[in-house]
């Protein structure tokens, strides 16, 4: 059972595409692993669609309504367009596998689709390994692998750090985190993650400020009791 989930606000921003690239990958991967959050994202998408296409926009779309000439021209262009070339070949079977130290991990779908972004492993002091995920931003997203009986020295975070367990279990002063658990640690948090008899593969990102101040997520009233309690 997954115990730790992204907040509802993070799911809304994920569904709108308005999280930072690193957090989109983190939340997307959690959603792959979590039936509960999958259902919630679907629900959020339904709600956004209803707002976007619903009656609330009536006045707006009346005012902006496509005039019939533009309308007809666009329709004609669409009918004349050729079907886009088939998608690039489906992902190769090995795309969803990640190897380290003779171990093989199955990657959740979001990571598998982005597996070409995963860099080489480098060894850190202790039984720790790191591989960066190139998401084209200044922000960093990393796989962190902790071998059995390993400890990350106690540290605090500048800003918020999000960690998602892909496989295995790690613990800190607050508890144990297992497959699919999504943990946000704020700057005030002192913690020392460690593993015992099991190793742990995690994905970690710094939670950067949001990129957009207006956007799809605004379709949902931020004060609605449904999403932001």
């Amino acid at each position: 059972m997954i115990k730790f989930h992204p907040s509802e606000q993070q799911l809304v921003l994920y569904a709108a595409g308005e999280l930072s690239p690193a957090m989109l990958m983190m939340v997307g991967t959690h959603v792959d692993m979590c039936k509960q959050c999958q259902a919630q994202v679907q629900d959020i998408e339904e709600q956004m669609a209803r707002k976007l296409f619903g009656e609330n926009n009536f006045a707006d779309y009346q005012a902006n309504s496509l005039d019939s000439k533009t309308h007809d021209a666009m329709l004609a262009a669409i009918f004349a367009s050729t079907a886009p070339v088939a998608e690039p070949s489906p992902p190769q079977p090995h795309d969803n596998l990640l190897y380290l130290e003779g171990k093989r991990f199955t990657l959740p779908a979001t990571l598998a689709r982005n597996s070409h972004r995963i860099g080489d492993w480098s060894r850190l002091p202790g039984k720790l390994w790191r591989a960066s995920v190139d998401i084209g931003a200044e922000q960093s997203l990393n796989f962190i692998y902790m071998g059995e009986q390993s400890t990350v020295p106690e540290h605090t975070h500048k800003g918020n750090e999000a960690t998602l367990v892909i496989n295995g279990v790690f613990s800190d002063e607050q508890g144990d985190y297992k497959d699919g658990d999504f943990v946000l640690l704020d700057g005030a948090h002192k913690h020392s993650p460690h593993t015992t008899h099991e190793d742990c593969l995690t994905l970690a990102a710094l939670d950067a400020p949001l990129h957009f101040t207006t956007g799809l997520s605004r379709l949902l009233n931020p004060f609605s009791s449904l999403f932001f309690k």
């Binding site: 595409g17 998408e45 669609a49 296409f53 902006n64 309308h71 669409i78 489906p90």
Partner: protein, 192 residues
């Protein structure tokens, strides 16, 4: 009763089905009339630019026209499907404007329009498929009697007793054929 409108979810889904199966221009025009102006109004507010908004509408609706067969009614409403297409296009538009390399692409985050998005969603499905394909090749190399038993048990999911009844042979024979076949398969796989 008034005729059904595209804001009726069932009707919208029906229109998409007509586009997918018959390339019905009438069905598409009806959907377009409902969704395009609403998308445009929203996109204009979003981008503050009439042309970009029109591009978003056109690209979204072009995908609806060509990819209607990818709409899965059991996964959500037609409106939601169209919304997710628009969301993806908007996401890519916003990034393209920044001229940065290696940016995430919407399709890799939300595979709304992927022709095959089931296999990767299901963690192990891909592995299983591959395994079955490989095993099928090995099974071809088994003696016919053993191959039949293996297929009935592992592909059709019959019990050994059911196989014995179906083939009208003793249970002991089924067991020995299964054992020999598995042994042979193991050798074939290790040998490869």
């Amino acid at each position: 009763m008034p005729p059904a409108q595209p804001d009726n979810p069932e009707h919208a889904a029906e229109l998409l089905a007509q586009i997918a199966t018959e390339q019905s221009r009438a069905a598409f025009s009806e959907l377009f009339k409902h969704f395009a102006p609403r998308l445009q109004a929203y996109a204009t507010r979003q981008f503050g630019n009439e042309q970009t908004a029109m591009d978003l509408v056109q690209e979204t609706m072009t995908n609806v026209w060509h990819k209607a067969h990818l709409f899965k009614p059991d996964r959500g409403s037609a409106a939601t499907w169209i919304f997710t297409i628009a969301r993806n296009i908007r996401f890519d538009f916003l990034r393209k404007n920044k001229y940065r390399q290696n940016d995430l692409s919407a399709d890799d985050l939300w595979p709304v329009l992927a022709e095959q998005n089931e296999s990767l969603d299901d963690d192990y499905a891909l592995d299983d498929d591959l395994l079955m394909q490989q095993l099928a090749v090995y099974c071809e190399q088994l003696p016919p009697a053993q191959k039949t038993v293996i297929e009935l048990i592992y592909i059709e999911g019959k019990s050994q007793q059911e196989v014995a009844d179906a083939l009208d042979i003793p249970l002991g024979t089924v067991k020995s054929r299964t054992r020999l076949a598995l042994q042979k398969l193991k050798e074939l796989i290790q040998h490869d």
